[in-house]
Amino acid sequence: MSTRKRFLVISRRPPYGSSHARDALDTALTTAVFEQPVSMLFLDDGVYQLLQAQQPGGIQQKNLGATLSALPMYDIDQLYACSDAMQSRNLGVDDCLLPVQLLDTDAIAQLIRTHDVVLSF
């Protein structure tokens, strides 16, 4: 495994309702542990993962927001969110629990072209 590839993990689902968001996050973390460069792109309802003040104790789940906040510690700092998805949900970067870059349509297509492997959840 001397080769390095640029990984992009796309996360489109909201947290908690299904395991997609958690699985996307675990995939990104594992990829980083394997010392591959990894970016994350939040699209559609996936941007809801970024909302602050998640308190999932009442539904018997782990806090996904807390895990997301730890991404920079794993050197996952290339975090992107679809600007249209944020705007149509009335979310701003100030509502987010960690810094993300907002991308428009052209920038999303460009981001994809700069990655070797794209895993979507």
Binding site: P14, Y16, G17, S18, P56, G57, G58, I59
Partner: protein, 95 residues
């Protein structure tokens, strides 16, 4: 009268539309799980006349939506969910 539960976010527009068109006056819509996102003030529900909406409190808290709810939507706990089932003749789950 019917209790409608809905557990998907507003992006599932066809589901929400089908649910709302199936509501009659006197029915109640209870938003649960990812349906809690439908309770946000920024995405106002087009409720038919005589239809009330409420949302499960644990799902609101889980998703960090406490400060984002539309004013007309009441939070209920699990006991409230059970009571709503008793108060309506039938329950339809939209998922």
């Amino acid at each position: 009268m019917t209790l409608h539960t809905l557990n998907r976010p507003p992006s599932n527009a066809a589901l929400l539309a089908d649910c709302l068109r199936a509501c009659s006056s006197g029915d109640t819509l209870l938003l649960i799980e990812d349906g809690a996102y439908c309770a946000q003030a920024s995405l106002p529900l087009q409720l038919p006349a005589g239809v009330a909406a409420c949302v499960l409190a644990a799902d609101v808290a889980a998703r960090g939506l406490n400060n984002r709810l539309a004013p007309g939507i009441k939070q209920v706990d699990d006991a409230g969910f059970v009571q709503l089932c008793c108060d309506h003749a039938r329950v339809i789950s939209w998922y």
